[in-house]
Symmetry: C2
Subunit: 144 residues, 2 copies
Amino acid sequence: MGFELHQQLQADCCQLGSFQLCRVLLCQDVNYPWFILVPQRQDITEIYQLDEKDQHQLWSESAVFSEVVMECFAGHKLNVAALGNMVPQLHLHHIVRYRDDPAWPGPIWGAVESKKYSQVQLAEVTNSLLPLLKNKGFIEKVAL
Amino acid sequence: MGFELHQQLQADCCQLGSFQLCRVLLCQDVNYPWFILVPQRQDITEIYQLDEKDQHQLWSESAVFSEVVMECFAGHKLNVAALGNMVPQLHLHHIVRYRDDPAWPGPIWGAVESKKYSQVQLAEVTNSLLPLLKNKGFIEKVAL
């Protein structure tokens, strides 16, 4: 289908796997459990540019994923956002927020400098999250 | 259905009307064409808490509205976001962005102080937008 992940997302994130439509990324920022869903379609910048079937699939995957990450990370609030001012490829942020996180109650973008995960921290996240995505239409990436 | 608009949204926005599910608000900030869709359901803070039918309706209304405001205001990018860290009632921002707006390319929240519309500016926005929402399932509020 000719989809290629934008190089900025490749640089800033780890690829965890994919749903039927969306690639699932973990942002390299230990400040928040911060995930990005990227519909694997070329040349789409706005949600309404997806055809109706893909829109439905996007929101269905987003809802499944949202509920799983809120359960997994025991968040107080979830932020869901399609901004794309810097990276035009359509991508949907899912950020688990806590009342004591470094940016609360503001949005996270630009709030504090991002901090990379260590290998141990990364394994902790994936070991908690990936089992909860079993049987939810999620296919794990073989090598992280 | 016992829905009541959160008082912060009442204070910060003008009510333009509603779709079948969502109340449509205009944020009192002349810096950006900034709209908010609020599903008229009580005690919902996250999208995935809406039942499946309401989720489908929300995204359908959001897509219709998004396309109309991008056409109406000739935007370069649309930002769509459900944050809700401060106002827990589920609400979905739709912000038309321009490459020369005061916050570009960052997110708008906290970027510059908001500036209220004058009555003339408000009439300009509603006179441009409301006719484009005709026959799209939108019902205008009788008195603004």
